[in-house]
Symmetry: C2
Subunit: 95 residues, 2 copies
């Protein structure tokens, strides 16, 4: 659910799973910042996670930086070309 | 598909439908800017639209501002409380 320093990768679980990861991350250490990374349909979940965390739990949190991009993914089995997939990075910072 | 001045509302159609709306909007007038608005699952489509337009068609386009938020939606039939839904606004600007 949560890997590397300060990065939470958003996948296909429920938003609350990731919200807990973000809160844990920001509480356990003296980290001031967490970056949510997602691609494809999980982009909508990433925005949910940022909004739920900020509105319900850590009111001093802001989305200090939001970046979108595109990644090339290897072809799936039975396909013969790579796919382009959209990505988002949301940096959440404590005031 | 496209309403009001410079705003394109992203719904459940294919990304290319909205890409065309953005290109039309930016070509027909001397508009330098289009704002994509989406909520819920359509947030992922909005990011696709921004990325496809920028990478394939209008290379001088940048996502100059990205804002996320939450909107309260009226309760659906059979439900008795309002729902919170995440939103995104992506401002695309020509250089």
């Amino acid at each position: 659910m949560a890997e590397k320093s300060g990065i939470v990768f958003i996948g296909s679980k429920m938003p609350m799973d990731y919200v807990l990861a973000v809160i844990t991350r920001l509480s356990a250490s003296d980290a001031k910042e967490v970056i949510l990374k997602a691609r494809g349909q999980a982009i909508a979940t990433a925005v949910d996670v940022a909004e739920i965390t900020r509105r319900r739990f850590l009111k001093d949190l802001t989305a200090s930086r939001i970046a979108i991009g595109t990644e090339e993914m290897p072809a799936r089995e039975g396909e013969n070309r790579t796919r382009m997939v959209s990505t988002i990075e949301i940096t959440l910072t404590r005031k």
